[in-house]
Symmetry: C2
Subunit: 245 residues, 2 copies
DNA sequence: CAGTGGTCTAGACCACGAT
DNA sequence: TCGTGGTCTAGACCACTGG
């Protein structure tokens, strides 16, 4: 699994979680170091132990810390931010966190009827209109990733080139107040299409890594289907998994 | 992210979690259907609401259900078991759940000093001995996956061909009482090595998917490093990720 | 022994959806 | 309004680690 979220609010436990994440990612809390005990955290945040524990459990499940009975909670070095595919974080958020230099180029943006395959992936009728956005992502002046997004038009009524160049997620959550809730990714390796050859700096690679991304709103509506096509030499995906005993 | 664990015990919330997982995976609880309300579950399991909620939160984080305020908890169809790489579940457990026909062949098993690269991955000195296990996994008589495991010998003192053909995880947890706690996977795509050509049924694929797997015990000791090399046409990885608001 | 995390409880108040 | 999930509390008891 992976880092899986952002943003704070008035929740106490999410505030604690986000502050600790920030401290771990910034290096202020070093790997191997011990967090304050749960009791100490209840005093620091003036809250109850179960609330503190909610925050720590989130940290543990996302690979930031390991809790050891009788000893304490310790920072793991397992969860360095990873690029370019990692959890449910937008491209803009990722590049910002990593301080990477990147460029997004909008190849095309249009409202259309979905083709059969896209309609099937989005689980809608082919008569229901969608936005199609095709973008490339470049690093050091090489186009490495080809993103083909499809959005249900009834949920995202308006979309502009400016929004696509910036961050569609930000637009959805901040402007449209449609918070994204969860996503499923499927990673496979396929033969490159002509489009891949055309739009990416391909250097003759014989295969391409395809990340299919299904994105859902809080009421479990599937509203976005994206295919992210990555040049294999630049692809890297990190997963963190816990076993329950 | 992914399904991430197994096994019940005397925990109430893990019992609830495992029973609901079982009902969802078996199809007895269908996608879209509504779970009993938290209040009803407290009566069914004769426990408190926070305990029920712990179970439901695990289900939500692992992609089994979506909770909707004011309405209830609903089964997602997002988390069909996936093959062959998915969370922290052993190969044996996966094939058993899926009823897939597979064969594991032990190519070599030996105690040795780790080479530089393995020592670095395991974060140990090159003088510290390890077990090296090389296995292939076949489906329909095609060798599709090459697994190269390395175990710290101070933690796994004994290993036999029989154990490697069955399940090393089962041996560790049941016989040695060393419960596995978490793992980090790194997925990349590389050029095949001569060993890949030799040991896999390769059909001329020009690239190979490499899954590096770092496995930790409950005290956060890194004790296993595995490289899983997959023929690209048979590779598929599924991730489930949630965003916190 | 004291300090730590793991589990569980019984109850409170809130926000949302359906009626 | 009622039933749902979301957050929070104050306290209990247990199991493990360490001195």
């Amino acid at each position: 699994m992976v880092q899986k979220g952002l943003d704070a609010m008035d929740n106490i436990y999410l505030t604690i979680y986000n502050q600790l994440v920030q401290q771990i990612e910034s290096g202020r809390l070093r790997p191997q170091s011990k967090l304050p005990s749960e009791y100490e955290l209840t005093k620091m945040y003036d809250t109850s132990r179960e609330t503190v524990r909610k925050a720590l459990n989130l940290l543990a499940q996302n690979g930031y810390i390991q809790k050891v009975k009788g000893k304490g909670s310790f920072v793991l070095n397992v969860n360095q931010m990873e690029f370019p595919v990692s959890g449910l974080v937008s491209f803009k958020e990722l590049t910002q966190r990593l301080g990477k230099e990147s460029r997004t180029k909008v190849i095309s943006l249009k409202a259309m009827a979905p083709d059969e395959s896209v309609a099937a992936h989005l689980n809608i009728s082919p008569s229901q209109p969608v936005w199609q956005v095709i973008r490339t992502r470049s690093f050091q002046d090489e186009a490495i990733i080809l993103d083909k997004d499809h959005f249900r038009q009834d949920i995202v009524p308006e979309l502009t080139t400016e929004i696509c160049e910036d961050s569609i997620y930000e637009y959805l959550e901040r402007r449209l107040d449609k918070p994204i809730s969860f996503a499923k990714k499927v990673i496979t390796v396929e033969e490159p299409s002509e489009e891949d050859w055309e739009l990416l700096d391909f250097d003759g690679y014989p295969m391409i890594v395809v990340v299919k991304n299904y994105v859902y709103l809080e009421d479990a509506t599937l509203f976005q289907y994206t295919e992210s096509r990555h040049r294999p030499d630049k692809f890297r995906f990190v997963d963190f998994a816990r076993r329950y005993h």
